[in-house]
């Protein structure tokens, strides 16, 4: 143990306020260190002096008037009592009701009978989360195949199996898909729609690319 450490612990060692183990170690150090012994003596003297000062000096006595005034105040106070049985019963009843109420509310929330405010906010917020691009949002982004399929479904109606489209005056040809490069390629890169008038024999071919941008040919 170093002198520095012993010096730091001396204020507590002087009254043996340290653990027995530390006390022993400091004792062992002190036996061989006169400087620390001197330091301990100085601490002991200071503490003794201040304790003597405390014992000698302060002889403050209760005045009779102060004491009787205190006793009068105590007599005016209500007698401290243990909580009554009625009060205990009321507390028990109130806590039971609170537990039942909380349980009922929790059950209703769980079953969805009560909508939580944050849940409403979430559902309201959902429409703002959209994958659609704004119209004037700069250069158009290439849509993925899945997005294109969704867009097609939305535009052509839910009946995917419908063989042809009918327009006001024309008869739509069955949808012709561009040849797929492989089996995983479910969608064509371009879509061709042929409209043929039965009366005049006019045939219009609309060619749409993957993003449904019109780049059609009119015949």
């Amino acid at each position: 143990m170093t002198c520095r450490l012993v010096k730091a612990l001396l204020p507590l060692y002087v009254s043996l306020d340290l653990s027995p183990c530390l006390n022993k170690r400091i004792e062992a150090h002190l036996a061989s260190c006169p400087r620390c012994q001197k330091e301990l003596k100085a601490f002991g003297a200071a503490l003794k002096t201040i304790k003597e000062a405390a014992q000698q000096g302060e002889t403050l006595e209760w005045r009779a008037a102060s004491w009787s005034s205190l006793l009068n105040q105590i007599n005016q106070e209500e007698t401290p009592r243990k909580p009554s049985a009625t009060l205990k019963r009321r507390w028990a009843l109130a806590s039971s009701l609170a537990v039942i109420l909380i349980g009922f509310i929790a059950f209703s929330i769980y079953k969805g009978k009560i909508a939580l405010p944050w849940a409403t906010l979430t559902s309201r917020a959902t429409p703002f989360i959209t994958h659609e691009q704004p119209i004037d949002a700069g250069p158009k982004k290439e849509l993925s195949k899945k997005e294109t399929q969704e867009k097609m479904t939305m535009l052509l109606g839910e009946n995917k199996g419908r063989p042809e489209l009918r327009r006001a005056r024309g008869k739509a040809e069955p949808l012709k898909a561009a040849p797929e490069s492989n089996e995983t390629n479910l969608l064509p890169d371009s879509l061709t729609i042929n409209l043929v008038s039965q009366e005049s024999g006019l045939e219009i071919t609309l060619v749409l690319n993957r993003n449904f941008d019109w780049k059609g040919v009119v015949k």
Binding site: T49, T59, I74
Partner: protein, 181 residues
């Protein structure tokens, strides 16, 4: 008996502790009038909260705890925290020991008391409480921790600081040598 409505029994209960509580209050506040206020408040509070008293605890230590809290409340209320008291006491101490002052603290005791007051005033509130309870009232570390509602480690740390400061103060003002001579 007190809880059964015998108020006179309470007076008998607190009588043996009245001097020690008043002394503790005086040491904590440093003022006679405030000490009486704190002591009265201590006994009133102890009467009010008597049913909360844990019979396993020491009644004296419980009263000490109430007195410490009452003194702390009073000091806070009157804005006489450490700085104010320290400045006042140290200035008194540095002027001339007990000569030509009207302060109760200086009038009421011999030289040693003045030194004690000056030393206590140089401590922080927590250090002062720990030092008074441990060294002047003779409580153990564990009891002091219980009274102050703090840990034993905290008490030890504050006690070591307080003792170091007091020793420095005594050495700085050469009090030990003067008292010996």
């Amino acid at each position: 008996m007190v809880l059964a409505g015998h108020k006179e029994a309470f007076a008998e209960l607190i009588y043996p502790y009245r001097q020690s509580i008043l002394r503790l209050a005086y040491r904590l506040t440093g003022d006679q009038e405030e000490a009486f206020d704190v002591a009265q408040e201590t006994f009133l509070r102890s009467f009010r909260y008597l049913r909360r008293f844990d019979l396993k605890r020491s009644f004296r230590n419980w009263l000490f705890q109430i007195a410490t809290n009452a003194a702390r409340d009073l000091i806070r209320r009157q804005r006489k925290e450490n700085d104010g008291i320290a400045a006042l006491a140290v200035s008194i101490y540095q002027q001339k020991e007990g000569v030509g002052t009207n302060t109760l603290a200086v009038e009421s005791g011999p030289k040693l008391t003045i030194h004690l007051r000056a030393c206590l005033s140089s401590l922080s509130p927590k250090e002062r409480q720990v030092f008074i309870l441990r060294d002047l009232e003779g409580l153990s570390i564990k009891e002091t921790a219980s009274v102050l509602s703090s840990s034993s480690i905290s008490v030890r740390v504050n006690l070591a600081r307080a003792r170091r400061k007091i020793r420095e103060m005594l050495e700085k003002n050469d009090i030990l040598r003067r008292l010996e001579s």
